[in-house]
Structures are given as C-alpha cells and as structure tokens.
Symmetry: D5
Subunit: 147 residues, 10 copies
Amino acid sequence: MTRNEVTEMIVTHKLRKKLTWLQLAKAIGQSKEWTTAALLGQMTLSAEQAKEIGELLELPTEAIEQLQVVPYKGSLPSSVPTDPLIYRFYELVNVYGTTFKALIHEEFGDGIMSAIDFSMDLQREPDPKGDRVKIVMSGKFLPYKRY
Amino acid sequence: MTRNEVTEMIVTHKLRKKLTWLQLAKAIGQSKEWTTAALLGQMTLSAEQAKEIGELLELPTEAIEQLQVVPYKGSLPSSVPTDPLIYRFYELVNVYGTTFKALIHEEFGDGIMSAIDFSMDLQREPDPKGDRVKIVMSGKFLPYKRY
Amino acid sequence: MTRNEVTEMIVTHKLRKKLTWLQLAKAIGQSKEWTTAALLGQMTLSAEQAKEIGELLELPTEAIEQLQVVPYKGSLPSSVPTDPLIYRFYELVNVYGTTFKALIHEEFGDGIMSAIDFSMDLQREPDPKGDRVKIVMSGKFLPYKRY
Amino acid sequence: MTRNEVTEMIVTHKLRKKLTWLQLAKAIGQSKEWTTAALLGQMTLSAEQAKEIGELLELPTEAIEQLQVVPYKGSLPSSVPTDPLIYRFYELVNVYGTTFKALIHEEFGDGIMSAIDFSMDLQREPDPKGDRVKIVMSGKFLPYKRY
Amino acid sequence: MTRNEVTEMIVTHKLRKKLTWLQLAKAIGQSKEWTTAALLGQMTLSAEQAKEIGELLELPTEAIEQLQVVPYKGSLPSSVPTDPLIYRFYELVNVYGTTFKALIHEEFGDGIMSAIDFSMDLQREPDPKGDRVKIVMSGKFLPYKRY
Amino acid sequence: MTRNEVTEMIVTHKLRKKLTWLQLAKAIGQSKEWTTAALLGQMTLSAEQAKEIGELLELPTEAIEQLQVVPYKGSLPSSVPTDPLIYRFYELVNVYGTTFKALIHEEFGDGIMSAIDFSMDLQREPDPKGDRVKIVMSGKFLPYKRY
Amino acid sequence: MTRNEVTEMIVTHKLRKKLTWLQLAKAIGQSKEWTTAALLGQMTLSAEQAKEIGELLELPTEAIEQLQVVPYKGSLPSSVPTDPLIYRFYELVNVYGTTFKALIHEEFGDGIMSAIDFSMDLQREPDPKGDRVKIVMSGKFLPYKRY
Amino acid sequence: MTRNEVTEMIVTHKLRKKLTWLQLAKAIGQSKEWTTAALLGQMTLSAEQAKEIGELLELPTEAIEQLQVVPYKGSLPSSVPTDPLIYRFYELVNVYGTTFKALIHEEFGDGIMSAIDFSMDLQREPDPKGDRVKIVMSGKFLPYKRY
Amino acid sequence: MTRNEVTEMIVTHKLRKKLTWLQLAKAIGQSKEWTTAALLGQMTLSAEQAKEIGELLELPTEAIEQLQVVPYKGSLPSSVPTDPLIYRFYELVNVYGTTFKALIHEEFGDGIMSAIDFSMDLQREPDPKGDRVKIVMSGKFLPYKRY
Amino acid sequence: MTRNEVTEMIVTHKLRKKLTWLQLAKAIGQSKEWTTAALLGQMTLSAEQAKEIGELLELPTEAIEQLQVVPYKGSLPSSVPTDPLIYRFYELVNVYGTTFKALIHEEFGDGIMSAIDFSMDLQREPDPKGDRVKIVMSGKFLPYKRY
C-alpha cells in the first residue's frame, strides 16, 4: 500500500462518513490547514494522531503505519497545475513572483521566507459584494549565510 | 522599446536614485504590493501615475507611454522558478495546492479564489526567534456558474 | 473508485444504453454543455442530479457519491492536445490569443474574461456550403483590482 | 526586418498615434477580429490593405512588404500561456476540451470544427451584475474523409 | 474496456489469426491506410464494419461497440517519437516543414492542406538499387477565411 | 554571419526581387522542393549553384560561402510546430504514425523509409469540390541489418 | 501480453536460469549486441530464433509470437536518460555531436551515418591502468539525394 | 566575447582559409577528434596550442585567451537534437542504451564507461556496397565504489 | 517482480520490523549511505549481502535475486524534484553549479569529480543555534584525456 | 547592464588580469566558495566588497552597483545541466536523492537541510591512487512546523 493509496482511501472514507477536514483537525488538535495537508500526504502524523485518524476513518493498520512515515512531498500531477482553483495560486506566483522578491529583499535583505518554519490560516471574509477567501501566511525570514 | 526594457530601466534608475518601492508606491497613492507589481511589468498605470513615476525615475516619454499599456503578464523566465525565494512560493503551491482546494471547497463549494479581484499585504512580523514574513491575501470567491 | 474511473464508467454505460448527452442534460435540467462537462469530470452535481444520473446510467452508489465531490479539473492528457478536434481550439488560442487580449483590453481595460462565471452554447449552423459549428461564449469581465 | 519586428513596430506606432484596432479595421474594410490578428502577425494583408495600414501607422516600405507575406503563425511565447487573460482561454480548452469533442461528435459525427474556414465576433454584453465578454465563433464542420 | 485495450486486443488477435491489414481492409471495403488507422484507434467504423471486423478477429461485444465511437486521436506515446521508422516522418516535418509552407503558399496563397479531408496511398516502388516506399498524400487546400 | 542570417537574407531579397521558389529552382537545375529546402537552410549547394543564387538574389560573398557548408538541420522553432500549415503535417505523423509503421512492416519487414535517400514532389491537384495539395514522397526502404 | 511484459519476463527468466546474453546470442547464431537489443525489445527475431529463445527461457507461446513482431523501438523511459552508464553515452552525443557532424561532413560530404545498416561490437580492452570498454561502430554512409 | 562567439569565428575563418579539421589537428599535434571538439568549444587548449590555432585562423587575442579557459560543455541547442546526422547517434543511445548497459554489466559488473578518460577514432571504411563510417570508442571502465 | 516493487517491499517491511537504515547497513558491513542507496534501488548487492538483507526483512527469493542485479539508476520521479528536502540539493546544484565548476577547474584543471569512484558521509553536527546536517563528499578527480 | 553582463565582464577581466577566485576571496575576507558564487551572480556583496572587487577587476560604476543588488538566482541555462562536471552533481541528486531523504529523516525527523543557512568547503584531498575532490557541506536542519 503506497502513500497515494492511503490518501485516496482517506478521501473516500471521509466522504462516506461525512466528516469535514475541520472535524478531523479538531480530533488531533492541529489546525485545519496542517491536518488537511498531512492527510493529503504532505506532512507526518505522530503515532497517536495516526491512531486517532485511523479510528475515525476506519483505516487498516498498514495505512496507520504509513501516516507516520515522512512522505515524498508534492501534491500536484503536473508542474503547471491544470485545476483552475490551484492554477490561480500558480498564477499569483507567476504574476507576483518578482514582487515578493523585491519587497522581501527591500525589507529584510538577501534571504528567503521559509516554507518549512511556516504556518497558514485560511478563512471566509464576509463582504457585501461577495465573500472573499482570506489567507494569512507566516514564514520565518532566513538570511543567506555569509562565510 | 519593449515592456521588458522599460522594466529593466526602472530597476536600474531606482537603484541609482536610491528610491524604495515604498516611496514609489506613496508617490502614486497605491499599496507597495500593487505598485511594485505594476513597475515590474504586471499591472497598468493611469496616465497621471505613469507621469509621476516617469518624473521620479527620469524615464523617457516612450517608457511613460508603455506603462499605460496593459502588459503581457507573467514575471518568471521558466515555468518552475529557479530563484530560491520565488521557488519557496512555488513549493507552497506544490505542497499545499490540494489543501487550498480541499478547504476552499469545504467552506464555499465549487469555485475559485479570484487572482484578479485580489489584494495582498506583505509585512514584517517581529518575533524573538527570528522575524517572520507575514503575507495576507484576499481574493473574491467566485462560484462556478451552473447553466 | 477514482473520478477518472467514474468518467470511464459513464461513457461506457451511456454507449450501451444509447443515451445522448442532450437527453442526460434534460434529465437534470441543465444545458447540454454544462452537463457534458460535469459528467466528463469537470463540474459538481447536486445530490438530486447525481441520483438522477445514477439511475439513468445504472451507476453504483460510490460513483453517485463521487459525482457530488468537486473534481480535480483538467480533461486533457497532455498540455498540448493531440486530438485534432481539440487541437483546433488550442490552435485558436495560439493564433488568436494576443487578439483576444488586445480587443478585450481595448473595450474593457485591464482585466480578464472569467472562465468561472462563464456559460457556453454550441449549435449547428446550417449553411449551403457546408454546415458550421457555432459556439457562443459568455464570460463576466473582471477588472484588475487596484489597491 | 523580421515579422516580429514589424508587429512590435505596429504596436508602438498605434500607441503613439492613439489609433484603435477598430479604426484600423474600418480603414481596411475587415472585422476588428481579423484585422487585429493580421496586424499581430497571424494573417496576410492584400497589397492595398498593407499600403493603407502603412500610411496610417507610418510604416517603412519593408514593413509594408512583410505584411503581404504569409507569416509563421502562433502568437504565444510558451505552449502554456502565462498571461492571465489568455490563460483563461487555454483553461477553457483544458476544462471543456472533451466536452467540445463529445458534443460536436454527437451532432455531426467524426470530424472537426475548422480553425481556417472560421470567423469570430467579440462584443460587450451589458449586464446589471457586471458586463460580460461575448464571443461568437463559427467554423465549418469538416467530416473525416473515408477512403 | 478502454479504446487502447481494444487496440491491443486487435493487434494480438490479428497476429494469432495471421491476418494482414490488407485482408482486414478488403473485408470492410476501405483502403488499407484508412482501415489500419481505424483499427489502431484513430478512425470510427460504421456498425457493419465493426461487426465484420469483430467476427474476423473474434472480438467481444464491448470492443465492437467501442470501434463505433469516435476515439481520442493521437497514436504516439511521446511528442517526439522514439521509434526510428516513425521518427523519419517527424524528421521530414522538421527538415521540410518550412519548405511545405513556402511552396503551398506560393501555389495557393494563405491557407493549409487539410488533414481531415485527406487520403493517402502507400505502395512498394520497385527499384534496381533497392525498392522504395512511395506515399501519395492528397489533402484539400483550405484558404484562410477573411471576414 | 550565421546560416540563419543567410536564410533571413534570402527570404527578404527574394521578396524584394519578386522571384518565386520555382524560378530559383530552375536557375540551378534542381526541383523546387529540394531548392526551397536548401535555401531555407536544410541542404548544401554546390559552388556553382551558390554562385548562381548569389547573383540572382544579390547576396554577399560570405553568404555564398555559407550556402556551400552543410547546415545544422531542423527548420522549426519548437518541437511541436505552432504554425497551422506545418502542424497539419505533425498531426498526420501523430494520427497515422503507427499506421505508417504497420503497413511498411507488413510490406517490407523490419526497417525504415529513408529520409536521406528521399525525394518529394508537391503539386496542385485540380478538383471541382476545391483544389487539393498532392504530395508524392519516395524514400528507399532500408532493412535493419542483422549481425 | 505487451512487448514490455515480454521483455520483463525475459530478464527475469534469464536471471533465474543463470544464462548470459552471450549464451543466448550463440544459441541463435547472432552477435551478442544484436541479440541483446532484440531480447530487450528493439529488434525482430525470425520464427526459429524466437522458438529457440522460447525454449531456453521457457517462454509461453504468446511471448514467442511477440518476439517475431516488429517492436515500437526506443528503450529509455525519459528523453534524457537518468542511469549513469547510459547517460555517459548521451553525454558523448552532447559533447561530441557537432564533432561527429564536422568530421563526417569533411570526409564524406552532406549525409549521415546509418543507424539501420549498422553493426556494433563491444569488447573488454585490457589495460594496466584499468581495463577499458572498446566499442566499434560501423554504419553505412548515406549521402543526401539531390533531385 | 563569449566562447560561443569564439566558436562561430573559428568556423567562419576556417571556411575562408579553406583549412580542414585534420590540418588544424596536425598543427597542434592532437587527433582530429579531440581537436575538432576543442575548437567547437568542448575541450581546453594549452597556451601553445591556442597560440598556434590563433595564428592559423587569425584570431584576436581575446579569442586565444578564451581557448585556454575550460568551457561550459554541451554542443547541442536542444536536449533531443534535430539535425539528422546527430540524431542518428541519439537514436543509437535510445535503441541500444539498455543493450550497452546489459553487456557492460555482464562483462565488468556495476560501473560505467568513462566519458572523460575516453578517446575516439573516426575513419572511412571502404565497402563495395557503399563506404561506411567506422567509429572506435575507448573509455576506461570505472567500477562503482563500495564503502 | 520489478526492482521498483522490490524497493517498495523493502520500505514497507523495514517499517513493520522497526529496523533502521543504520542497522541494515551494519548487518552487511557497509556504510549507511551506500546501503540505503542500494536498498532504494541504486546499487548492487553481493549474493551474501542480498541473502542477509532478505532474511532480516523477510523478502521472497525473487526479491533477493533482484538485489544482485545492476539496477536502472535514478531515484526521482521528475527531472526537477518536488520534495522540499530533495529540492534543496537540486537548488544547491543550480545556485552553486558554476561555482563548483570554477573552483574545481582552478584547483585541478579540466576534468570532473567522479560520481562513481565516490563516497559520502552524512552526520548530525551539534550546534547551539540548531543542529546541522553535515555531508562530506569525496570523489576522485578525473582529468579529460588528450589524444 | 544586466547582472548576466556583469558576470560575463567579471569572468573576462579576471582572465585578463590573471587573478584566481581565491585571491578575489581573500581580498574581501570571505571564503572562496561564497565569493565565487557571489561573483558568478548568486550572492549579494556589501558596498565595500563591491568597491574592492570593482577596483581589482576594473569594473565600471554600474557593475559595482549591480553587485550590491540581490540577484535573480540560478546559474544554469537548462533544468538538466549539460556540462559534465556540473551534471555529476545533478546525477548525485538523482541517484542519492531518496537516500539523503531517508537518512536525514531517520536522524532528525521530518524537515529539511537548509540551503540558505548553509556553508561549503571544497578542497583537494591527496590520494596515491589519484587526488580527490573533497566537499564538506553544512546546512542547518529545519524541522517542519506543526500548527
């Protein structure tokens, strides 16, 4: 049983049991963002978290073991995503990529925003002209080491 | 004079005049995020904004005209960016792409977060363990039309 | 059972039962364009629509559940399509892409035609020199937000 | 002087002379869609049309000659376009590609919609919820020859 | 059963029954070129033709049904073919591509040779220095429509 | 001066002098197909042929020298051509590739049709339903050597 | 059973029976180079050779039939090989490609070295500083036909 | 002046001075294979060799300096070469790649043939049925280190 | 059973038996780096080593045989890796590639660092500001042969 | 003047002035690894360092300014490098990529080795069987944040 098969099984069982990502997240005491990423094969669960999820979703032992192994990350089937929702994020990187770079360097100097020491929060932002998706990202600035 | 040449000229003149993106943004009354994107060839300036920038950066008339034309967007030289700072954003799309999709659909149903009716704010977030980059994105949710 | 397997099953069962896309569309009260896209794995059905289609095509429960899940969109196996009928549409984008851009910007300013708040109608256009395919597309214009 | 250089020159001169694509189209008695495509390097002008455009945009003789030569077509710098406006059309091909195929085959049998014996009309469609872009495409159906 | 599986089954059964493409073509009253393409998943058979082939090759009902459905065309596993025989044709397009273009435009003006209203004949051409492959292609010229 | 620059110069001078490919071919006593390919940078001229062409098109000595050097072949700017006329030939390889292979192997056994010991003739084929492009290709069959 | 499955079966059975490629080659009276290529899915065996190999490796009838069919050639899973041994040959083409071209043209004029009328011999070359791999390639020179 | 410009200059001057690769090789006391590769930008000349070549080809001092710098190697403009002569070598790697691997491993065990401690000899092999190109390659076998 | 299936089986059995890579390495008397690479399908085990691993991980005979065959190397599913840990190494090659080249040539002249006669050691480097990964690579310098 | 042009100028002037990377590094008080990367366009110099280098290499003011700007990083012209020396490092990532991942996760848990808080040392390692290149890499381990 590969990790991809575990992910497919999680998606199917979650649908059948009518559980939300938020409910699964609360069950293991993590944010919905981290939990969803983990269950979609991008993060590593602790033994207890894996057991908890395994019970909620009725996963076999082998799947519960797999959830504790660090996965080979990358959730997209092609380097330029075809799904319109995900493509919009790729488009933001394409349109705003050099802007991110210019503004972070102006504020911090040479370095990067970590994608590892990173957290994220996604919320509905009510708006009379149509509700909005609000995403707050926070990543540690890492300066390039001189040596 | 192509738009790329205008962008290169802006970067060079800005460097020589020791102006920041923030100062340029204030001069035209827009956010630093939108202004930087515009000056890096991704957005369209009004006639007055273009004139203002043209004076600050001593651009020739042809460049000022070009800034008012809608550009062919996309700021990266390759579909997978090689620059480490920009790559981290690509990586976030790759690792969290299916998570964005799952959570937005759970909250809003089928549709996307607009990358057009969109705004962004990038700030330094002080932190004793090392300051962080904080990015707040806000995009209108657009539901798929049924017909 | 993945969504791709549901799509293959729909195509096979439709063939065997000699149903047309138009008949399936009428059964769920949507246009033939939206319905075909949905049944080919690109749109999301309501619970009733999924049930209706499930009965007409004798689909198993799992397939009916899947039709209510937002799919990972993108219907083509390669970024440049090899099928001649579909390639002609890609060719139109390639030949007329900059024309679409120039004319929409001339009429509306900077922004895009939405592919989400979008509808389409495909009809036979009788013509003595040979009938024609007539496609009417209608997408909301979305102006780039300044901020 | 290559055809690309002619195209760049046309875009620059048109900007300076504040002419619209529609005005250029009227001057040569063709639709704005065909004319824009031709001036962006995708179609071939007659000797008179080239002369007319040459005078309006003050092009050198060499450019006027080039406009009468059949160009190497394809207006995009990459196989998947990065510009958001153009990408939306690529996305429509990606999401609706198999739908186009299914519906045209259902109506006409095996064959294609011609991208050569083809015309197009792009208009503003007023709408209280926000104006829309309306595109009408008409292409001859070409059945696959059996032999 | 997908169309690819039908194609593989046809190739296997033809081998076992020691039938040639020419014999199969004669059985359905079409040329060997069209018939081979159809049986390799590129063209659509009529109900009678599919039944005839089904009997000759002992295909199951599902395969016979599939042969009457318009296939997703494109017979090669990669955009640049690796098989030496097929690559030589790709090489001809690469080496002679601009020559085809120049000569067809010189003779006919702007337009294309149709690959749909098209037929082909492949024969052995005896030659004392070594027999040759002779291919005659005939495609309708389609002029670009002006509008 | 690179070979590409020689090719561009030939195309420009030919246009200015209103010469056809056929006239150039007759001047050097070769077919229009071979001559066009040679002048578009795919074949090698003899010293006399290069001198003849050089006089007709008023080429500088350096260009005449270059025409006698074996060029780096391949006339297309991308592995999948974007020009519709040339793409149709690529499409024929894609749709009929496995058919070419099956029929040549049925007639000749394992081997290829040479693209080197090869000639081609392109003619207008009058037809009341619309004239056709007729292309006759002849390439030596080369059997795979066993050793 | 596809040809790839036949190849995998040959590799597995050969391992189990502890036979070498050289022994298999001798059994069918061909060189080890041609035989290995054939058994790895790149060449076509005669009926007797296929039978002989089938007995030695205990292959089923279907596999023996497949070995007599001309395969779709190309033995590598990616256009740039990842395996270090095979990559070194790709590197030689990359580093020495223009050298092969320059020297063959200097000696023979315009044309190619055939990869079809071709043979190869691979031997150990003893050397006190470390044994060497010696490969002798021999391919017929094919001059470009003028017509 | 980049190394590519040096290479282009060498090719042009060699043509004008009617020197062969063999003559250039003899002048510096190396094989024609190594010398051609070096002059085409793939190897590094000693100071004396560079001076010798510089005099023969009348190169400027800057070019002579460049010839002594280790170049960024790789002589082809695309990962799959389009030139038919060079493609045949790529095809040999594609068709025989797994054969090279199988036979070298059978003879030597796990390791590679070096492309660095490597030499090559290319000769005309007279043959009544048409002369052949004979290439002898010799590369040191390097076993994978165990540690 | 392909080598990929052997690798998946090793990963699964190792997880179930709670063995570390270090323990497996000690069992066969090699370094943890070489052993891990070997068990992940990149190196070749001796008969004894394969037997030892087979017993520890309870592998079937066929898997034990496969471990003694030289594998088709290359452990990544895409040419640019998506996994963040592995991508960082790719990034180092991208950012420092020309630096490696410049410094090795400055020290050694033209040649390469062998990736075959190569060993590696990976250790934890304790550091009060956060522990570090220390990797020591050692590869034989191979000078380009002149001939 | 782009950063690439600055890099080319540095390489040319360094050659003419016969300076080594090590000498340049000492002049600015950094390691030879960091300095070479910086001068090849991958790191950012301080004002004093840029001035120092500018004097040593006689760079114009504009180049000295550019050296203080954070560059768009990535030093390779293609995603898979063609230069043999650099390719060997890419090969190490390809062959050992999953090994790096397995061993770092075994030692540290889920996270990465930083390529930003990173240093490197490259030395000659004398060896009677042929000197070796020794590279010591040290990167901070960054654990994935849970939230």
